[in-house]
Symmetry: D2
Amino acid sequence: MTVEVIAIGGYEEVGKNMTAVKVNDEVIIFDMGIHLDRINIHEDTDIDRMHSLDLIERGVIPDDTLMKDVDGKVKGIIFTHGHLDHIGAVAKLAHRYDAPLIGTPFTTALIENTIKGERKFKVHNPIKSLNPGSKIQLSKNITLEFVQSTHSIPQAVIAVLHTSEGIIVYALDFKFDNHQKISPPPDYNRLKELGRKGVLCLIVETTNAQNYDQVKTYSERVPRVILEDLMKGPMEEDKGMIITTFSSHVERIQAIADIAAKGNREILFLGRSMERYCGLAEKMGLLHLPKNANIYGHPKSVNKALAKADDHPEKYLLVTTGHQGEPDALLPRIAGGRTPYNIKKGDNVIISAPIIPNPTNAANRHILETRLITKGARIYSNAHVSGHAGREDHREFLRMLKPKHIIPAHGELSMLTAYGELAEEEGYRIGKDVHILRNAQAQVFNGE
Amino acid sequence: MTVEVIAIGGYEEVGKNMTAVKVNDEVIIFDMGIHLDRINIHEDTDIDRMHSLDLIERGVIPDDTLMKDVDGKVKGIIFTHGHLDHIGAVAKLAHRYDAPLIGTPFTTALIENTIKGERKFKVHNPIKSLNPGSKIQLSKNITLEFVQSTHSIPQAVIAVLHTSEGIIVYALDFKFDNHQKISPPPDYNRLKELGRKGVLCLIVETTNAQNYDQVKTYSERVPRVILEDLMKGPMEEDKGMIITTFSSHVERIQAIADIAAKGNREILFLGRSMERYCGLAEKMGLLHLPKNANIYGHPKSVNKALAKADDHPEKYLLVTTGHQGEPDALLPRIAGGRTPYNIKKGDNVIISAPIIPNPTNAANRHILETRLITKGARIYSNAHVSGHAGREDHREFLRMLKPKHIIPAHGELSMLTAYGELAEEEGYRIGKDVHILRNAQAQVFNGE
Amino acid sequence: MTVEVIAIGGYEEVGKNMTAVKVNDEVIIFDMGIHLDRINIHEDTDIDRMHSLDLIERGVIPDDTLMKDVDGKVKGIIFTHGHLDHIGAVAKLAHRYDAPLIGTPFTTALIENTIKGERKFKVHNPIKSLNPGSKIQLSKNITLEFVQSTHSIPQAVIAVLHTSEGIIVYALDFKFDNHQKISPPPDYNRLKELGRKGVLCLIVETTNAQNYDQVKTYSERVPRVILEDLMKGPMEEDKGMIITTFSSHVERIQAIADIAAKGNREILFLGRSMERYCGLAEKMGLLHLPKNANIYGHPKSVNKALAKADDHPEKYLLVTTGHQGEPDALLPRIAGGRTPYNIKKGDNVIISAPIIPNPTNAANRHILETRLITKGARIYSNAHVSGHAGREDHREFLRMLKPKHIIPAHGELSMLTAYGELAEEEGYRIGKDVHILRNAQAQVFNGE
Amino acid sequence: MTVEVIAIGGYEEVGKNMTAVKVNDEVIIFDMGIHLDRINIHEDTDIDRMHSLDLIERGVIPDDTLMKDVDGKVKGIIFTHGHLDHIGAVAKLAHRYDAPLIGTPFTTALIENTIKGERKFKVHNPIKSLNPGSKIQLSKNITLEFVQSTHSIPQAVIAVLHTSEGIIVYALDFKFDNHQKISPPPDYNRLKELGRKGVLCLIVETTNAQNYDQVKTYSERVPRVILEDLMKGPMEEDKGMIITTFSSHVERIQAIADIAAKGNREILFLGRSMERYCGLAEKMGLLHLPKNANIYGHPKSVNKALAKADDHPEKYLLVTTGHQGEPDALLPRIAGGRTPYNIKKGDNVIISAPIIPNPTNAANRHILETRLITKGARIYSNAHVSGHAGREDHREFLRMLKPKHIIPAHGELSMLTAYGELAEEEGYRIGKDVHILRNAQAQVFNGE
C-alpha cells in the first residue's frame, strides 16, 4: 500500500521533464520533455533523426531507462501543457510504453504534430483528449482529473490523480492569472476542495522559486496595458513595425492582435513555429485573429509576404519568431539582411519576451539588437511577464492544497531547495515532508 | 544677446537641483533642492537649524555662492514640482534673492510648509501660484509658461521660458503617463508646437538614462492593476494589513484608496509626512479619500490609531511611511516593536516602492523586512513603477522639441553622458550641441 | 553499532556552528559558536548579560536544547579554531555538559578569555590543550586527533575521531595554504593516510562552495606580495598611514609587520580586539613584532597613542580594527572625527579585508569610505584572500579522504547543496552518501 | 603656436585606437588599431581582403578620412606596443601617409608580419625601431622619446613628444609593474622628470577607470605565485594537462615555461598565433624557453604534436590558444573533439585569462567549459591579473606628470568620464583641463 514518486528528468535542470508515479502496481507517467540548451553544446545534434539512447547520453531527453526496473504496469502518459520541455521527447520515448497519451485538446494536437515530425521511431500510442475540469478513469484504482489552470500557453492544467492511496497533484507549470482572455482563471475552489479532502503529495514546479523580487507574478493584464502604450506610437508612425514574441504564447498573441486590430496595418504572423502554434490555436477557436491578419509559415510564403511588406512597411505589422536571437529564426534573419525585408531608419521593433537566461541567448540577442540598431531601428524590449507562479503564489497554493508531502521539480537543485525553504516558512521541513530528489531517485510514501 | 545656463546643483549627483538661466541681464532660477543622502554621512546634520554655508560645505544644499559673480537681476525662482530635491533648500537660499517663488498651487503650498518649518532664516519672498497650462510675464522680455506634465507627485510641470533670445525648456522631472487619475496626460501638442517654433535649449532630467531594461516607463495604470491583484487576498483575509508607499505620491495613494474603498476595512493613513502630503492634497481637492479613510500625523494620534487597530487588525488597512526602512519612520518602528501595533503571524505587508539605490537604504530595508518576516508577516514588494521618463520616452521628447542645444541635468556624470549618447543617436553630438556641465560651470549660447 | 551526526547549528546559516557526533552511547560535541549578524536585527542584544534561552530564541547561539533527548554521555567538546562563530557561545552552553573543552593552545587561550568575559553563567569545564598533530583518548572507544591545517587564524586544525565504528573527520574551517609563515602547510600525508584507512564520515565546511570564480583559494603568499607593493608608496610618503585588517588574522598581521619593519615608521596596533588577539599571539610566540611596534587596546592608551600620532602622522603606521565600518570600531571612529587623530589630505588607508557580504556591512563600509575620502584620504581596498578552501581544494580533499559519507556544514542551504553538487562530480550522490541536514536533524550510519 | 589633439578612433569604444597630434603645421599619428568585436556583428567580414572604406563603414578600423582636412604634414606614425587594437589597421591605413612607422623592435616586427599578411593594399612606409629609453628626431621641432613602461606584451612604451609648444605624453596602454621578468620596471624617474619640465598634455588609457574594486593593478608576480600553486598538482598527476593564455603575453608565457621547466613534462606551445608571438619573442631573445619546450603553429604540425601527446598525455603540457572559447582556436577545437587529442577524465585545464567582457565571449567560454567538463576535465580559471593601470596607479601617474591638460582615451564614454572624475579628485576639472572627446573631435591648446 505505497506510493512512489520517481524523478526521471527535470530535477537537475530546467528542461526534459519526466516523472513517474507508482501506486501499488500501477504506474502513471507525467511529461516527456526535451532540454533545448543541451543542443547548443553538441553542435551535430539532429533531434528528428537521432536515436533515444544517443539523445539520452547527450542529456537532451530524460533517461527513462530506469523504468525497466520499475515493477508496475503503465496506465497513462499525461501531459499538462504543450511546451517542448514537457512534450518534446514524446516521439522518442512514448512508443516503449503500452499506454495512452493524455492531454487537453490543444496539448494533444501539438503532440500529434510532434509525432508526425519524427523520422526515427513509429509512435502508435492511443491519444486521448481531456478537457480542463474533467476526469478520466485510468484504471480501477486511479482516476485522472485536469484542474483548470493558467500558464503561458492555452489549456494548461494541473493534473490530479485520485488513487486508492490518496490524492497526488502534479503542478508543472502554472501561474495564478485571473485576467487572461483565452483561459478562465485557475479553479481555486477545486484546489481548496482537494486540500480539504487531503492531498498526499504535491509535485510542483519551481521556476521562480529563487526570484525574490517579483514575488507575485503579474497577470497577463499587465503586458496588455504595457503593449497598448508601447504599440500606440509605432502603429501611427509612417515606419516599419515588428513585434516578436513566443509563438506558443497565444494569450500574448491575442493581446497583440486585439491592439493591432484597432489600427490600419495589415498584421502578418510570420515564421514556421508561428504558423504551427497560431494556426492550430486559430483552427481550435482559441485565437481569434482580426480580418486584417494573416499567418505565413512556409519559407516561400514568408518571403513573399516580406517582399510585399518591404514595399510599404508603414502598412504592415510583422509578428515574428526569433525573440532570443536564434540565428535561424526570422527576426535575426531579417536583421542580418537575409530576407527580402529591409530594416530602415526609424523602424520600430518590440520584443515581448525576456532573455531566457543562458549565455548563448545573451550573445544571440546582443548580436540581434546591435544589427537592428545599426540599421536604424528603435527597440522596445520591456513588455513581458512570467508564465510561472512567484513565491507568494506558491505560498498561496500550499495553503490551499495543504499536501502531506511535497516534491519540488522542474529546476536545478538550487531552485528545488529555494522552494523547500519557502515550504519551511509554511511549516514543512526539508528531509521530513519536503523531498529533494535528484534525477533517477525515488521517494516512497505510505498512503492512509 | 546671449543666453547662459549656469549649473549650480544636481549636475554631479541625484539631489540638490538648482540651475540659473541668464538671458542678457536678467536671471531666472530653477529649483532649490536638498541632497538627502549626504545627511547620512554627517550624523549631526540638523537641517532646520543649520546655516546655509555649513549645509553647502557638507554638500546638502546647492552651492549658490557663485551667483554673486553673475551680473544680472533675478526675476523669478521657479519650482517645477514639490519633491525635496527640488524645493528642500528654498528656506535656506531664497531669502538672498529679491524675486518671487513660483510654482503650481500644490508646489507652492509645499514651499510654504517648508518655509514655516525653518528655524534659522526668515524668508519673505513673494509666492505666486501658476496653473499648468498657464503663463506669467516675469519681465519685459521673459515669459514663463507651465506645460502640463506628469510625474510621481501632483501638478508637476515642464517650465518654458519664452525670451527675446529664444525658447528655453526646463524639464526636471517628468514621465509620459497617459493614464493618471489625478493628472491629465502631458500636453504633447503644446510640446510639438514649441518644437515647431524652435527651442533654443532644453535642460532635461536623466534619472533613467542608464536604464536599458525598462526603456519606456510604464504608466501608473500598471501599478494600479498590480495593486488590485496584490491587495485582493490580504483585504479579504482575517489578518493585519499594511501598505507603505511614498507620502507625496498622491496618484498611488489614490489608487490604493480606490481599491481599498471596495473592501470593508477602515483605512488609516499614518505618519507625519503622510499627513503633510495627503492632508494637503485632500484639502486642495487632488486626493479623494473614501469615507472609511482617516489621516493621522501627530505621534499621539498615530499611536492612538495604532492601539485601536491592534485590537482588531482585520478591520484596518494601515498606509504608512517608512518604505526605505528609515529607522524613525513608522513602519520600521512598528517592525521594531516600538509602537502599540503588533505584527502577528499571517499579517500582510505591501511595499509599493523600490529600494532607492544607496547602501544605507539597502541595509535599512533588509533589517525592516527581516524583522517583519521574523514576526510572521508576509511581504509583497513589487508594486511600483518609476516616475521618470525612460530612454525611449526621452527619444520621443527630443523628436517633439527638436532643441538646438541640450543640457542633461539631475544626475551623476554617468547619467548625464548616458543621456548624451541617447541624444547622439538622434543626431546630436556631445561637445557640439549636447553640453555636459559640472556644478558651477556655465554654457553660453547665442540666440537668433 | 551506529554513528549519528546531529546538526545543531550552522546548517542553515553562516554562524553559530555546533555539531554532535554520537558513537554508540558516547557523544562528542564540535564547536559552540555565535551568529553575529543576528545581533544587528535585535538592537538590544547584550550578549554578555543575556541568558542562553533568550539568545537561542533570537538565533544568536545554537539551539542545543535537543541534546536533552540524546541518550548518551558527552565525552568532550572540541573546538577546531578560535573564531567567534566556533567558540563564541562556549560561555553560554558549555556549563550544561560534564565534559572537557579541547582545542589547540591558541584556541583554548581564546576560550579562556571568552569565559572570563561572561557575566551570566559560571563555566567550570576542564580545559585541555592539544597540539596539531597530536592525539588524545576521550574514552575507551574514542580517540581524538588534531591534523595540522591552515586557516585565517593560528593553530586551526582538522579534528579526527577514531572510533570503534570508523573514522569521522570534522573539517570546519580550513584552506590549503602551503606558504604561511606562522603555520606549517596542512598535513596532506596524514590526510591521505586517513583516506587509505577508510573514513566513515566527513563533516565539512562549505564557505566557498558557491564561488565558481576563485576555484582554488590563493595562499597568504598572494596578499603578502600585494601588500608589499601597496605599502611601499605610503610608507615613503610624508603622510598619515593606516591599515585595517582582521585582528585574529595573525598571519596577515605578521606580514604587515614584516613589511613595515623595513620602514622608518613606528607601528601602532590599536583597538581592543587588536590587543586581545595580537597580544595573545605575541605572548604565545606566534606573532613576532618588530621593535618599532606597540599594541594598545585600552581606550585611554589608544587615545594617547592617537594623539601622539596626530602630531607627526608621517612617523606612524596605525593598524586598526574597523574594516567592516562597524560604527564603534576604531577606524570608523577616526573617520567620524571621534578620536584625537585627524585624517588629512593625502593620508593613505589600506583595507586588507573584504566586505563580509551583508547589507549592514555594505552600508557601514560605504559610510566609512565616504568619510575618509571626504577628508582627503586615499583608499586601497584590494589586499585580501579568503581563509576558506575553494571548490578545487575541496575536490582535492575528497580525493585524499575518500569518505563513505559526507555532511556539508557551515552555511546556508544553497552552500551545502553547492558542495553536494561538487561531491556528485566526484562520484557521490546527494540523498545517498551526501546528506543535507537542517538544524536539529540527524543522520545515522552503520559503521563496519 | 597651437597644439591640436585629434581623436580618430578609440574614443567611443575599446578598440581601433588612433589619435593625431598636430603641432603647428606638423602632424604625428599614434596607433592604427582594429576593433575586433565589430567583426562578430558582420559575419562576412574578411579583414585581409577588404578595402579600408568598407572596414571603416563597419566600424572595424578607425575612420581617418577626416585627416584629409587636417592641414599639416605627417612626420611619423607611432605605435606604443603590438596589440591588434593598436597596430591591426596599419596595413589598411598607413600607405595613405608619407611617413615612417615607428615602434620598439618587438612592435615593429609584429607590424611587419601584419603588412605581410595583407591582401588588398601595398604598404611601403619605412619602418623604424626605437628602443625604450631612446629618442628620435621626427622633424626640426619634434623629437619622439620612448619611456620604458610595462604592459601585457613585451616592449610596451609610453610615447613622449618634445615639441616647440610643450611636451605631449601618449600613454596607451600601460600598468605599473615592478616585478616583470622580461621587462624592467617603468622609468618612474624619467616620468617625474618630465613632470618637472612641464607636460602640456597627457593622452591616457582608461581601461580600468571604472574598476573600483582592484584599484591598484597587481604585478605579474601575483599570477606567477598563483600559477606555481595551480600547476603543481596537475604537473605531478598522471593525466593530461593544458594551459591556455594570451599568445602575446610573453611575460605570462615565460612564467608558465619557468614553472613547467622544473617538471618532467614536454611543453608544447600550440596554435598559429602562439607561434607568431612566441616564436618571434624567442628569436628576439625576449622569451627563453626551456629545452623541453617546442612551438608548433602550422595546422599539420599542431595535429602531429597533438596525436603524439594523445598517446601519453601524462608526458606533455599543452599551452594553447583559445582562452575566450573562440570556435576556431585550438582549445575549443580540442574540446569539440575536432583534433587528434582527446580530453579524458581527470585531465587538468588551466585558463590563465579573464573572459573579455562581451556577450559572445561569455557564450563561447561557457560552451568551451561545458564541453571540457562533460569530458571529465577539471578547470582552474583564476590565474590572471590585468595589464592596465588601476585607479590608484593613474592617480600616481598624474602626480608624477602633472600635465596641464588631460585627454582620456581608449574606451567608451563612461570610461573616459570615470577617468575624468578621478582627475577631478586630483584637482583637475572636466570641461576645463580634462577634455572628453568623441571620435572625430579635436581639442586645441595654446602652448607656452
